[in-house]
Amino acid sequence: MAATPVVVNPKGSLWSRLPLVKQLAQSVGLQRGMLVAGLVLVALFLLTAALAPLLAPYGFAQLRDESGRFGSQQPPSAEHLFGTTVSGYDVLSRTIWGAQTAVLVIVVAVTMSLIIGVLLGVFSGYFGGTLDRILVVVCDAIYAFPSLLLAIVMSIVISGGQSSLLGGIMSAAISITVVFIPQYFRVVRAETVRIKAEAFVESAKVIGASNMRIMFRHVLRNATRTLPLILTLNASEAILTLAGLGFVGFGIEPTSAAEWGYDLNRSIADVSSGIWWTALYPGLAIVLVVLGITLVGESLNDLADPRLRTRHRAIASPAAAATANEVDELEKPE
C-alpha cells in the first residue's frame, strides 16, 4: 500500500494541480484548520519580510531620529510601540527587519542543501559501493551530531565568528547547509535504494537503459516526491538554528542586519530586572514563524500519508485506515 505512489491527477485543471491547492481541497475539518492557520502565518511572515522597509518605523540599526537618541530600555510608548533595547534600538523595527534576514538565510540554506543533498543521495544510493558506504558513515556521523554545535564550528571556519550583512547571512546559511545536507542525503538515498528494487526500475534495466537514463528518467523524480515535506520542516529548523547561532554570539552583527537570536541574547540581563519587552517580541516572532511553517509541513505530511489522513465524514476512529486497501480497490477503473 505504501508503495503505491499518489499521483496528482494529470487531467485535473491547472488550478487544482498547483501545489497546496490540491492538499487544501483534500483536507477536512481540523486538519484543514491546521493547514490554513499555518499558511496564514507563513504568508504574514513572507509579507513582513517583503514589505519590511514600508512596515518598519525605523531602520534596524537606527539609534536616533530628529528628536534625538531613542534611549536605552525604554518601555513601550507611542513612539516605540514595543519599546527599545539595551543598546537603544527600536524593538518593533528590529523585529520586522528580522523577518527579512530569516527569509534570506532560509532560502539560501535550504536551496544549497537541497541541491547538494539530493544529487549526492541519488548517486550514492544508485551506484552503491565503497563511496556510498563512506558517505553513509560520514552523513550518519554528522546527522547524529548536535546541529547547533556543528553550525557554530562552521560559522567560525567561514567567517571567524561575525561579519557583515552578506558575509553574515552567507556564513549562517552555509553553516546551516552543512548541517542539513545529511538529512536530504539520507532521505533521498533511502528512497533511491527502495525505488532501485522496484519492478519499474528493473524493467528499465532489462530494456537495456543506461545507468544515467535510469537515474534521471526513472529514479530521480520518484525519489524526490517527499522532499517538499522535509523542505518545510527544514525551513523551520533553519530559523531555529539561525536564532541559536545569534544567541550564542555567532550570528550577524546588529549593525549589519536585524537578527532575532542576537536580540534575545542581549535581553537575558533585561529579563532578570523585569524588562520583558526586549525578549518577548523577537521571541514571539520566532515562535510564530516556526509554528506556521511546521503546521504547513505536518499537514502536508498527514495528507500525503494515507494512514494519517482524515477523510470526510471521518470522526475520531483509530480504525479509519483499516480497510484503505478495500477502498483503493473500489477506486480502480474497469
Binding site: 546527522y143 547524529a144 571567524g160 535504494v193 523551520s236 535581553s267 494512514r307
Partner: protein, 362 residues
C-alpha cells in the same frame, strides 16, 4: 539497506521452523555494536580537527593582535603547531583516545579537567530534562493517538509544535520572567544559592552532581535549594524534547493502529484503549526508541542554549565562554567529547531497541 539482495523467492515458508533466537549471543552483539561506534567517533573527531584547523592555528586565533609576531612564533613553536599538520593530527588522535584533550589557551587548564568539572552539571541537566520529556511526551502522545482527529488531539499537536517551535532560550526567558521575576517562586539562575554552594565545596571528593552532593551534606535545605534551581532549566529543555516525543509517539502509534494485527486483536474483542496501550504501543516503541537516540544530539544542542540562559555552569555554558575568548583548543576538546557522548548514547539506544524487538537476531 539490504532489501535489494533478498530474492522475492527467498524461503518464506520453509519447513525450517526452528528459527529460535540464536546463532550468537547478546554479548557478541554488544561487542559488534561497540566496535561499530569507533569509526563514528573517529570521523567526528577528525572532522572537528579539520574544521578547527581550517582557520589556522589556535594560538594565532586566540592571541593574534595581542602579542607581537615573534612572541606568537615562540608560543606556536612551544605548543608544536609548527610541525606538519598530519603529525599534529596523529598526535591529537592518539591523545583523544587516551583521554588527553590538550591545554586551554586562555586559562591554561587541562581540557580534560575542564570536562570533568563541568560535565557533571550538564549530565544533571540532561537527566532532569529527559524525565520531563518522558513524563510529558509519552503519555500525551498515546492520548493524542487514542483521541486522534478530535479537538483534544489537535490541541495536543499544536502544543507539541509549540514545544519545539519555541527556542529553549526564549521559553527559558519567559519562564524566568514569570516564575522568578514576577512571581518570585523560583531562583533566577545558577545551580544553587551561594550558601549551598559553599556547603557543597566543603565536601571531600564532591561528585559535581549537585543533587547527590546536597544529600551528602545531610542538610535538606541544600537539597531543596538544588532542586528549586533545576526546575526551570529542566522544564525549558525538557519541553523541547517532550514536543518531539509527543509527535513521535502519536505518529508511530497511529501508524501501528492501521496494521492488520490490530484489526485482528479488535476482531477478538480487545478494547480500544488496550489496543493503544498494549498492542500498538510496543511495536511502535521500536522506531520511537531509535529516533529518541537521535534526539540526544538535539538535547545536547539545547543544553548549550539552556545553560547560557540560566547561567547553569555546565559544558555548554563554558563552551560559549571559550568561544567568545576564541580559545579553540578548549572548544575542540568540548566538541569532541560531546561527539563521543552522542555516539555512545546511540549505541546504548541500539542495544535497548534490540532487547525489545524479538525479531532482531543477535
Amino acid at each position: 539497506m539490504t532489501t535489494t539482495e533478498i530474492s522475492p523467492s527467498a524461503p518464506l515458508d520453509g519447513t525450517t521452523t526452528e528459527r529460535v533466537k540464536g546463532g550468537g549471543n547478546l554479548g557478541r552483539y554488544i561487542l559488534v555494536r561497540l566496535l561499530l561506534i569507533i569509526p563514528t567517533v573517529f570521523i567526528l573527531v577528525t572532522m572537528v580537527f579539520i574544521l578547527m584547523r581550517l582557520i589556522g592555528d589556535p594560538i594565532t586565533a586566540s592571541l593574534g593582535g595581542r602579542l607581537s609576531p615573534d612572541q606568537l612564533e615562540e608560543r606556536k613553536e612551544a605548543a608544536g603547531y609548527n610541525r606538519p599538520i598530519w603529525v599534529q593530527y596523529v598526535e591529537y588522535i592518539g591523545q583523544v583516545f587516551t583521554g588527553n584533550f590538550g591545554t586551554t589557551i586562555s586559562d591554561n587548564r587541562p581540557v580534560s579537567e575542564v570536562l570533568l568539572t563541568y560535565g557533571g552539571a550538564t549530565a544533571e541537566l540532561v537527566f532532569y530534562s529527559l524525565i520531563v520529556a518522558f513524563v510529558v511526551g509519552i503519555p500525551l502522545g498515546l492520548l493524542a493517538a487514542y483521541l486522534r482527529d478530535r479537538w483534544q488531539d489537535a490541541s495536543l499537536r499544536v502544543f507539541a509544535i509549540l514545544c519545539y517551535a519555541t527556542p529553549v532560550f526564549f521559553s527559558g526567558l519567559l519562564l524566568k520572567l514569570v516564575f522568578s521575576v514576577w512571581l518570585g517562586w523560583l531562583p533566577v539562575s545558577g545551580r544553587a544559592s551561594t550558601r549551598t554552594e559553599l556547603d557543597l565545596l566543603l565536601l571531600d571528593n564532591p561528585t559535581g552532581i549537585y543533587l547527590i552532593d546536597a544529600f551528602r551534606t545531610g542538610d535538606m535545605d541544600n537539597v531543596w535549594d538544588v532542586l528549586a534551581h533545576a526546575v526551570l532549566p529542566a522544564i525549558a529543555l525538557g519541553l523541547l524534547t517532550a514536543g518531539v516525543f509527543l509527535r513521535l509517539v502519536r505518529t508511530n502509534v497511529i501508524g501501528t493502529l492501521g496494521r492488520e494485527y490490530i484489526d485482528s486483536a479488535r476482531s477478538r474483542g480487545v478494547g480500544e484503549l488496550r489496543l493503544v496501550r498494549k498492542h500498538a504501543y510496543k511495536p511502535a516503541l521500536i522506531p520511537i526508541i531509535t529516533v529518541i537516540g537521535l534526539q540526544i544530539a538535539l538535547l545536547l544542542g539545547g543544553a548549550v542554549l539552556t545553560e547560557t540562559t540560566f547561567e547553569w555552569k555546565g559544558l555548554g555554558f563554558i563552551l560559549v565562554e571559550y568561544l567568545s575568548s576564541r580559545d579553540f583548543v578548549a572548544v575542540q576538546g568540548i566538541v569532541a567529547l560531546l561527539a563521543v557522548i552522542v555516539a555512545v548514547s546511540n549505541f546504548i539506544v541500539d542495544i535497548i531497541a534490540a532487547l525489545i524487538d524479538p525479531r532482531v537476531r543477535y
